[in-house]
Symmetry: C3
Subunit: 144 residues, 3 copies
Amino acid sequence: MKSHRATITLHLPERTGFVNITPDIEEVVEESSIQEGLCLVNAMHITASVFINDDEPGLHEDYIRWLERLAPFNAGTDPAKGGYLHNRSGEENGDAHHKRQIMGREVVLAITHGQLDFGPWEQVFYGEFDGRRDKRVLIKIIGE
Amino acid sequence: MKSHRATITLHLPERTGFVNITPDIEEVVEESSIQEGLCLVNAMHITASVFINDDEPGLHEDYIRWLERLAPFNAGTDPAKGGYLHNRSGEENGDAHHKRQIMGREVVLAITHGQLDFGPWEQVFYGEFDGRRDKRVLIKIIGE
Amino acid sequence: MKSHRATITLHLPERTGFVNITPDIEEVVEESSIQEGLCLVNAMHITASVFINDDEPGLHEDYIRWLERLAPFNAGTDPAKGGYLHNRSGEENGDAHHKRQIMGREVVLAITHGQLDFGPWEQVFYGEFDGRRDKRVLIKIIGE
């Protein structure tokens, strides 16, 4: 059994946004020289997601609007006024911890014949919900 | 280390529905002859899910009604009228890409003594949100 | 390749709550003596979750309030009155099956140099949505 580990660092200028990290993962898979295995890709931060969906800008705008409806940004600390108790800790990112739960922390990808074993439209995205600072994504591959 | 790969093809006659794919996965695990390992099961399409829950028809109807409330079907392209920007690409499945995020893309299953290592009620489902065409599920097993 | 399996049993006195199970997982990783690999941690019950987020009590209260808004508890069986068809089966936990879908069934963790390979704030939680009985979490590790 072989294993390989890498991290990617992202820094989004906005609070919220999506980045297609598929090419980065493909590079790490190639570096690993693993032909058959599993590849874990996870956000190392708890206000960010890694997920698989379509590389279509309209959809990404839809997601952002939808997540804002399900877990609205609110810097306050009073739940009766839409705030988050979490913000009592001095942060304003209560909503981001909720948005990340909807979109997920991680994906696990199959590696077959040395390549990511994808369906026709699958692309891997980093989802940022509390940006404007460095964040890391972990890639861990095991196989042979 | 051994690895094994298979796909299942599904074709649901309706837009939305759930199919218990546990027997298919069990067959693939047996074919693999892997005794101890991990088994990834993922939708290869981005308007479908693979998830684990109860094989109970009432619950499945509840899920469909609930997902419709969280991300309603709307063929339109104007967010102000409940449409999805994604539908500008000529599709009518913006809602399906959202429903899939709630239900998830994949599950990872433990294999112990050559069997799926399940709790008492765990069953694996394919969740379709934009059916009436062939879709595939990937099963990738690694272990020994 | 080596593999290791363990279960943790939890029994929450309330219907809903979160328990930090990171120390339990760390112990199992150490027992396994696996240095490089993947560690699956999943709820074996379908009204419970395993997820990663912050160990901050305010956030956990926010999550509980939020999940109650997205999938309210209702012991009834009539969807028109907010009930769940699932409850016709004699249970009152329809809401719990929905909350679990938002928070997820499982996490997959990288093991690097014999340790859980975590970002700065990542902690693993058991999420209970239908407690007051014994429930189990499965830990399965493969690697070398």
